[in-house]
């Protein structure tokens, strides 16, 4: 572990590295909200922010504190017109559970992480569907949810790769940011 006083340029460098990681998360958030004009894609669009929450809750929990997960969920709810608090609740629960269980995933090969994501994302999407049906007093079709889950499985390896790259450029000791 390095010691000593950090110069201004070093602090700036560390800040820029963290900005890069958060910029990627911001891109994922945007991908969950913007319109793509691709037929049927918007209905089965995977949740990229769930991928980000899953990854960073395992490898760098300080990047995704519960209050940030709450705000992201609230923003998604506001923009997408979902009942307020739906995704906020799910993301807070997801972040908390993954952070508490991160020791299971730490040091594992990608396949184990991928299987973990498959289970987590399917659970989150299904829970979202159940809560939405309860709030609306109507059972909506599960097929788009299933499509979204399957598409998420396809996109996760790429998202993992990108997040891994940004993770590698982050300083090893988070206390260096203080």
């Amino acid at each position: 572990m390095s010691t000593g006083i950090l110069t201004f340029s070093k602090k700036l460098e560390i800040f820029a590295r963290f900005c890069g990681a958060y910029c990627l998360i911001a891109v994922f958030l945007m991908l969950d909200m913007i319109s793509f004009n691709v037929p049927y894609f918007n209905e089965i669009r995977p949740s990229f922010i769930v991928m980000a929450l899953f990854y960073w809750s395992i490898y760098r929990p300080s990047m995704v504190p519960p209050w940030l997960a709450f705000l992201w969920g609230l923003l998604i709810d506001i923009v997408s017109g979902l009942p307020l608090g739906l995704n906020a609740l799910l993301y807070v629960i997801l972040a908390r559970i993954i952070q508490n269980q991160r020791k299971i995933f730490m040091g594992q090969i990608f396949l184990s992480i991928y299987i973990g994501y498959v289970l987590v994302s399917a659970g989150v999407a299904t829970l979202e569907w159940v809560i939405f049906c309860l709030v609306e007093f109507e059972i909506v079709s599960y097929k788009p949810v299933l499509g979204s889950i399957l598409l998420g499985f396809a996109f996760f390896p790429l998202a993992f790769l990108l997040m891994n790259v940004t993770h590698k450029i982050l300083p090893h000791d988070a206390s260096m940011m203080k």
Binding site: N37, Y40, R45, V79, L84, G85, F132, E136, V140
Partner: protein, 262 residues
């Protein structure tokens, strides 16, 4: 725990009183809509470019089909002009109260909140442009929904196929009334049809104007019978490739007499 509790409270409040957070949503939508619009524009342009390039092989066939349709429509144009003049003369003769012409504002779609649960859009037009809650919204070919939330420069449109959408409609051929109900699927269904209604595939469906939410006569779609024996409506509008919509602005009906109480 605290955040989870707050989220649960918000969810419960949204479930019990959906309009409770309308102002908050509008203000938040207003704040983020410029950023979403800025980010979505290049993405939409890129998707449109890819679609145009990859569809070059279909352009010739489409061009030929459009030329034929254009020739057919030119014939209809002449008939329509004759009918229009005749209609105006008859209305004058009978002293019919004519519906005022509607004003529109064109808005770009900046976010498609059409996920698995909610079918809605965010468009870049709000109260600054005269858009208010309840305004009907059309695409190029027909009705797509109505405004359910507005900010000063952005609005949310609830689409016809959303599970919360209910629109009073009428079958043009036989004047049978029904309610167009969204089911979160591609095609909404017709509900509250009378049992003796004679319906066939292909019948045009337009808004009836009942309830005052939608002006009468707005094109909606055509009837189709599905496998479950329900009458679905194939919407005229195709949002898959639409980037712009038209919002019908509220208008003052000159036929109404002003009352003393505002």
């Amino acid at each position: 725990m605290v955040l989870g509790g707050i989220a649960c409270a918000l969810l419960l409040a949204s479930a019990l009183s959906p309009d409770l957070f309308t102002n908050t949503r509008s203000k938040a939508m207003n704040t983020v809509s410029p950023l979403i619009a800025a980010v979505s524009y290049p993405v939409q342009e890129a998707v449109g470019y890819v679609r145009n390039v990859s569809g070059l092989s279909d352009i010739q066939a489409r061009n030929a089909a459009l030329e034929q349709e254009n020739a057919r429509l030119r014939e209809w144009y002449q008939s329509a002009m004759v009918l229009q003049n005749r209609n105006a003369a008859l209305e004058k003769l009978l002293n019919v109260k004519v519906e005022p012409a509607y004003k529109f504002v064109t808005a770009r779609i900046i976010a498609d909140a059409g996920n698995a649960f909610v079918k809605s859009l965010l468009v870049k037009a709000g109260t600054n442009e005269g858009v208010y809650k309840g305004n009907p919204v059309l695409s190029g070919d027909g009705l797509i929904g109505r405004v359910v939330g507005t900010g000063s420069n952005a609005s949310r449109i609830l689409l016809l196929n959303d599970v919360n959408s209910r629109v009073p409609v009428i079958l043009e051929e036989n004047d049978h009334h029904a309610v167009l109900a969204g089911q979160n699927k591609t095609r909404p269904v017709l509900e509250h049809l009378s049992k003796d209604a004679k319906i066939r595939d292909g019948m045009r469906v337009v808004t009836s104007g009942f309830g005052g939410m939608f002006p009468p006569g707005l094109p909606v779609g055509k009837v189709a019978l599905n496998d479950m024996g329900q009458y679905e409506v194939v919407l005229f509008s195709d949002l898959k490739t639409t980037q712009y919509v038209r919002v019908i602005l509220a208008h003052q009906d000159p036929n109404l007499i002003k009352g003393d109480i505002e």
